[in-house]
């Protein structure tokens, strides 16, 4: 539901004239809500930029969002090639 809420805010902000991009851990919800730019990360909820105290990982995600902003010329949804190696701690 976090994804729907942030997606609805994103839609209005984009329509107001400010370019936006989102990271998503729920591609179905982000896709269904319809946003201009989104990147799917196979990360757990609560970790959209990665793990605590992993600045280099946060920067990889942040940079991907920035390049999506620079490259997209129409509504675009991409997937980031990350896998979460510590899933079991979330299950």
């Amino acid at each position: 539901m976090c994804h729907r809420s942030v997606g609805l805010v994103q839609g209005v902000v984009e329509a107001s004239g400010i370019p936006t991009v989102t990271i998503s851990m729920r591609p179905d919800v982000t896709y269904g809500v319809k946003v201009p730019r989104a990147a799917y990360a196979r990360f757990p909820h609560g970790n959209p930029f990665g793990e605590p105290y992993r600045p280099e990982q946060h920067h990889l995600v942040f940079e991907a969002l920035l390049r999506l902003l620079e490259q997209a010329t129409a509504p675009t949804f991409v997937e980031l090639p990350f896998r979460w190696r510590r899933w079991k701690q979330w299950l």
Partner: protein, 172 residues
């Protein structure tokens, strides 16, 4: 740092999964309705990112320790926002949200609210400036109407007043 590839997402089954999720949400939460965006909004960058002012906008329940926490005990949700000044002390950030594990965010806010990363990108010249204000919200809102009708326009106004060029949107 080698940039990671941006591969198009296979969206084949996503609409069906979304439709199934909406059915689930409407069954399990009173007051829900299937609000979505018109889907046609697309605003190109007006200037290079190295000259752009960037804001963080999150529904991960981010607020400062001295701000009222979000209501998370009601089924109605909490369609309010908190202003997060850019010069905040990250150790003052709190994440109040009961629908995801907030432990990592409360350990290192940059997991969901990458304020230190934003400042580093400005220092490196990748981004022009950080917005003087960022926005925290709490995303558990079964009824999306007040989000779309009231909260979102308020947030857009805050960003416009701050002369923000780009907004990074982050769910929890």
């Amino acid at each position: 740092m080698k940039p990671i590839p941006l591969e198009p997402l296979d969206t084949t089954e996503l609409q069906q999964k979304y439709d199934d999720w909406i059915v689930f949400v409407e069954r399990s939460h009173h007051g829900s309705n299937p609000r979505i965006n018109p889907g046609d909004a697309f605003t190109p960058l007006s200037k290079p990112l190295s000259q752009s002012r960037v804001a963080l906008v999150t529904t991960a329940g981010a607020h400062l320790v001295d701000q009222t926490p979000f209501h998370v005990e009601t089924v109605a949700g909490d369609p309010t926002h908190r202003i997060l000044p850019d010069d905040l002390d990250p150790s003052d950030l709190r994440f109040t949200h009961t629908h995801y594990d907030t432990a990592p965010a409360n350990q290192d806010p940059n997991c969901v609210f990458p304020i230190d990363r934003l400042h580093e990108l400005v220092e490196r010249g990748r981004l022009g400036a950080a917005s003087p204000v960022h926005v925290g919200m709490m995303g558990f809102n079964p009824d999306p109407s007040p989000i779309q009708d009231d909260l979102a326009p308020r947030v857009a106004g805050i960003l416009a007043d701050a002369e923000v060029d780009v907004a990074i949107m982050v769910p929890g």
